[in-house]
Each structure stands twice: as structure tokens, then as C-alpha cells.
């Protein structure tokens, strides 16, 4: 049955392929509409008067776009300070995360040692515990360390996540062991193998982790809510929620502020995405 279809495909190759390609693009376009529709709505709402936001039928392109809304939000709350704080946290966390995770992941993926599996399970296990439960003990401890109401609190909390180790380990598992074996036989140290062989091979993984960490830190709400009190320390998500609470009926402004907060992350993504497709050297070796 399957071989029959295979042969059929061979015979009618070109028309079927064209049809498939058209279908493929239609599918992609449909998905894209789904993915972006809410953003289009947000954009269009952000240019409207408040009272027109929830009107039916939807007016996708406002008759008189109010670009002023974007100016208004910068005056209402100190968004610039929030942006700066969030940028500091996100950049430092992302850097630390990549460094320590790729290091630890090497041990989990490429080395054999006592208690490895148990330790790894403990890492994953902690991911499963909802933060709401251990938030209080964690907070009391952080206060003892004198880190409360400093950006350091968020940095140390998020820099050593199990998520990063897990993600990097999975990628390292995909790099054939022959590579590290060969290097070991050549007398290279484990650190050398990590730095000279594994790390250069894991660009897509690093790009992925960078984006994930950056996005998660950027969008983190509960952490800053609990740990930051002074106004000059607050982050963009706190600013956004505060904005939403204060101007709870001004959906046009909320949408404008949300879109602004989204931009930096979108830029990071655009910048890093080429690494996802850049073929890696393992390709030739494995087959």
C-alpha cells in the first residue's frame, strides 16, 4: 500500500508538488493569521479612542488613527526607568544562565559520575514545584542576605535555573559521543572539550536559550512584584500591570503600552533567529 503511493508520487511528481506547495503556503498563511490576529487587534485598538475599542463590528483600520496614544503612555508612568531595569536584569540573567547552564549540562550529558541521574531528576523535580509554595521561604532567605529590593535579588534567583541546564543537556545529548571520545583519546581535558568542541557546536542551543531566558525574564511579573519595592527599581511588567490597574478602562493605552513592552524582545528574536537555521557541523559526522 505504502510503496504504491510512493510510486504514484514519483510518476506525478511536478503537479502534485505544486499543489502541495500551494497547500503548504495556504496552511502557513492561515496559521500566521491566527498567530498575528490578536496583535493586529491590539495595534488597531492602540490607535483608537477608548470607547471604540470594544465596538462591533470591528473597525480593523481606525478612521483617524490616534498616534498620540503612544506619546501619552510615556508621560503617565516612568516607562524609561522600567525599561532600563528590565534590560539590566534580562541581560545579566541571560549571560549567567548560558554560562553556568552550558557548563553544568556538559557534566550531565557527556560525563558519567556517581549520582548523576538522581541529581538530574532533582533538578527537574524542582521545576515541578509551583513557585507560589516556596516563594515565602525564599523571600525570607533573600532578605537575610540583604538582597531584598535590589536588582540582584532577581538576578540570582533566575540565573541558576534548572530549565537552562535541562535544555542544554538535551542539545548536548544530540552531539555524537564519538566527538568527545576522540578528543579524550587525543589527550584533551574535559574543559578543553567543552570549550573547543561542544560549545562551538551548540550555537542553535545557545541562541534558543538566550531567547527563552530573555523572554522569560523580560516578562516575569511575580518576581519583581515580590522583590522590588522602590519605584526606581521596578520593571516593565510591573509598570504594565500598574498601568492596567490605574487606567483599567483605558484599553487603548494598555494595548499601546503592551506593544511597546513587546518590541525589545521581538528585536532580540529577529537578531538571533538566524542561528536556528545555521547548519551545525555535526551534520556531516553522524551519517
Amino acid at each position: 500500500m505504502t510503496s504504491l503511493t510512493a510510486r504514484k508520487t514519483d510518476i506525478r511528481r511536478s503537479p502534485l508538488q505544486t499543489a502541495l506547495k500551494v497547500l503548504l503556503y495556504l496552511f502557513l498563511l492561515a496559521f500566521m493569521v491566527l498567530a498575528l490576529l490578536p496583535f493586529v487587534w491590539m495595534l488597531s485598538s492602540s490607535l483608537k479612542l477608548d470607547k471604540d475599542v470594544f465596538r462591533y463590528p470591528i473597525q480593523w483600520i481606525p478612521a483617524q488613527p490616534l498616534w498620540d496614544n503612544y506619546a501619552v503612555i510615556w508621560q503617565r508612568v516612568p516607562l524609561m526607568t522600567y525599561f532600563k531595569n528590565t534590560a539590566i536584569i534580562s541581560l545579566v540573567v541571560t549571560f549567567m544562565q548560558i554560562l553556568t547552564s552550558s557548563f553544568a549540562a556538559y557534566a550531565f550529558a557527556k560525563m558519567t559520575f556517581k549520582g548523576r541521574d538522581l541529581l538530574f531528576l532533582a533538578y527537574i523535580g524542582t521545576i515541578a514545584v509551583p513557585w507560589q509554595v516556596y516563594m515565602l521561604p525564599q523571600f525570607i532567605m533573600m532578605r537575610q542576605f540583604g538582597l531584598y529590593d535590589t536588582l540582584w535579588a532577581l538576578i540570582v534567583l533566575q540565573s541558576f535555573s534548572a530549565f537552562g541546564v535541562f535544555l542544554m543537556r538535551q542539545f548536548y545529548m544530540g552531539i555524537p559521543n564519538e566527538l568527545s571520545e576522540a578528543a579524550r583519546i587525543d589527550g584533551m581535558s574535559e574543559y578543553g572539550i567543552w570549550f573547543k568542541i561542544i560549545l562551538p557546536l551548540s550555537k542553535p542551543a545557545i541562541a534558543t536559550l538566550t531567547i527563552f531566558t530573555f523572554v522569560n525574564t523580560w516578562n516575569d511579573y511575580m518576581g519583581p512584584l515580590i522583590y522590588l519595592t522602590s519605584d526606581h527599581m521596578k520593571t516593565i511588567q510591573i509598570g504594565l500591570r500598574r498601568f492596567i490597574q490605574q487606567y483599567s478602562s483605558d484599553y487603548h493605552l494598555i494595548m499601546a503600552a503592551s506593544l511597546c513592552s513587546l518590541l525589545p524582545v521581538a528585536i532580540v528574536f529577529l537578531f538571533l533567529q538566524k542561528y536556528f537555521i545555521e547548519g551545525i557541523a555535526t551534520t556531516g559526522i553522524k551519517g
Partner: protein, 418 residues
Amino acid sequence: MKKLLSLFLVLALLLSLSAVSFAGEKKVLRVASWDTLTGGYLAATETAFEEAFPDVDLQYVDIASQDYFQKATTILAGGDNVDVIDIKELSDVHNWVEQGYVESLDPYVEKDQYNLGNYLGLENNYRADGALYGLPYRSDFWVLFYNKTLFDAAGVDYPTNDMTWEEYAALAEKMTQGDGIDKIYGSHYHTWLSAAVCWAVTDGKYTLADGHYEPLKYYYDLVLGLEDKGVVQEYSELRAANLHYSGVFYQGKTAMMPMGYWFAATLIDEKAKGTFDFDWSFVSVPHHPDIAAGSSFGSITGSAMNKNANDKDLAWQFISWRASEAGALAIAKVGTRPGYVSESVAQTMAAAEGFPKDDNAKAALVPTAMSLEWPIGEHVNAIKTIVNEEHTLIMTREVSVEEGIEAMNARVAEVIGQ
């Protein structure tokens, strides 16, 4: 990749260098509260207090209003030395007392011979085992706001301070005009439980923690009936759109709206800013035929002293000033209703810039009877969750009023029986 990493590092360093803080020279008083940036009564309090005590620098610690209790509790648990902590809901302070985070005010009251007679007994809600843990600085009760301009245009008489719920419903029906996008509704209920059915507690005897919910049926039937007639917007639509009541009122989409008195200050403020330009006023909320006119329910807001306060005497100085006539006058000027309501405070409130000028509004400033929205008690928080959950089912018409009340009775009985 290396370039990228070094770029990260340099950026991070530069940014962290610019984030340095510095301290002032005055005595610093830190007060944890919510919505501290919106201005309004908190800004008025700050200005007046610093004028009265020039050596003190009052700093608010802003906590998101939605997560107020959670974050405030976390701060207290962590041993923060914030001096004063505001009490958003009654249950907050009772939880803090139980957990030992707040200081009793009794020694200070005794030392200063502080007069507690001006709060009409409201301060007793802040007592636990006889000891006082807070003083009220705001007391809000529910009134019926209305859009004067809409009533004028329709040639219908304004609502009065003595209306039954049936009379109110008939008036709302009369005021409903138009269709589709431009429809103007006769009244508006926000999605809170209190807006729809809390009226049952205005008799001063029944409380929502009593464990039986038959008294709510009258009000559910009323609200759902108004929805059916298209006199008020549907609950489920309001919930789905996360619509805030203020927008509905500003845009002139409703003729009347029962809401807490705090909305008056917002209205004064927003009208001054030019958000809307119609005239508004308020009267006492309607009443059940068996309950006296002018009865309402409300809540009080107060301040408590942190056990770990940096400077307890300074904290008391603020708490007592804020709850006194001087503090009351400062916030009455901006239209907020203080906990301390004397003759001169009431006059100041009525004289506030932008306050409605009619006699009915002035008369409605002092309710004939005020019950608390939720009482204090061991299971109240668990009961709140249950009643609110069943409330959503009734209001979205997923269950009938009878079924919903039945479920409230059964589930609350389980909690109380534990």
C-alpha cells in the same frame, strides 16, 4: 558568539552603573499602600502631613492593588521595617494580628489620651481580643451615582434618597434608550458580588458569613430581570470584555450606577481633567421595602503599625494624625470620605471643588445605617471564595438562582462544619 557575549557584558555593566540610589536627610517615614501614584487622597495626605511636620519625609511604598494582601504579607513576613502598613480589607489586619506582624495601638492611645469617639464605633472592627490594631482613615459606603445630563435630556425626574428597589428598577427601565452601539442603559452593575447582591446585608443583621443565602434571591431576581429586559448590560459580556465600570459611566452609557463612594473622588478628578463633560450626582442606594431608606453597606480603610517599624513613635504620629480631624480634612478636600466624619468634615466634603451641589447628595453623605460588606471571622476568606464562585455560575446563568443558592448553602456548611 563571543562578540555577542561581550556586548551583553558591556551593556549590563553600563546600565548597572547608572542605577545608583541616594538618601535624604529628613526623618523618613515609610508607608505601604496601593495606587500611590494616582495622586488623589494619598497625595493630599502626603502634602498636608509634611506641611504639619516639616521634619518628616513621607515616602509611600507602592504595592499593586490587585495583589495587595499577598505582597504586603510577604513584606511583613520578611521582616521589612516599613513603619505603617495600610489595611485594604478588614480581614488583612486580622490575619496580620494572628501572625504577629502588627503592633497594638493601645499603649499609644493611652499615652496620648487619644479620643476614639469620632469613628462611630468603626474602629472596633480593628480590634482583636479587645486590643486595637488600626485606626480608620477612610470609610466608603455604597451610593447610587447618576448622570444628571441624561435625566435632563429625557425629561425624567432624578432618583431620590428614598426609593425601593422596585421603584429604582422602573426608573432604570424608563431611562433605557436607543439600540446597538449607541444604546444607553438605565443602570449598570459592575461584576463584583457586592454590586449585585450585597444589599442583603443592609438590614444590619444578616451577614454573608451566616451560611444561608436565601436573602440574596430577591436581589438576584432583580438584577437578572433587568438583564432580561435589556436595562443593564449582561454580566457575562462585561466579564468577557474585562470592562471597568468607570469607562461605562464616563462615556455616558448608563443613566445610573450603584457604586462605592470612592468613585466620587475619581469623578471629580476625571471631570476636571476633561475625561467627560456631563453633570453627575448621587443619592442613597435604593432599599428593600422592609429596610429603612438610607441604609447601605461599605468598608473601612485604615492604617496599622508594623511590629518591625523603623520608628514606632513616628508611625503613631502619622497614624493618629491621619485619623484625626486634620487628616480627615486633608482628604475630604479632594472628595474622599474619611473615617472621621464630623460636621466640619462633612461640610468640607460637600464644598470640595466639583462636588454635586444638590441637597440630596449632601443628605446622602451620611447614611442612616451602615453595615460591613463582610464581617470578620475564622472562615470568612474560605466562604468568600465559595460565594464568589457560585455567584459567577448564577450570573452567567449556568445554574438557576435556586440551584446556586442551594450550592452556596451546602458548600459553606461544609467549611463551617470543619
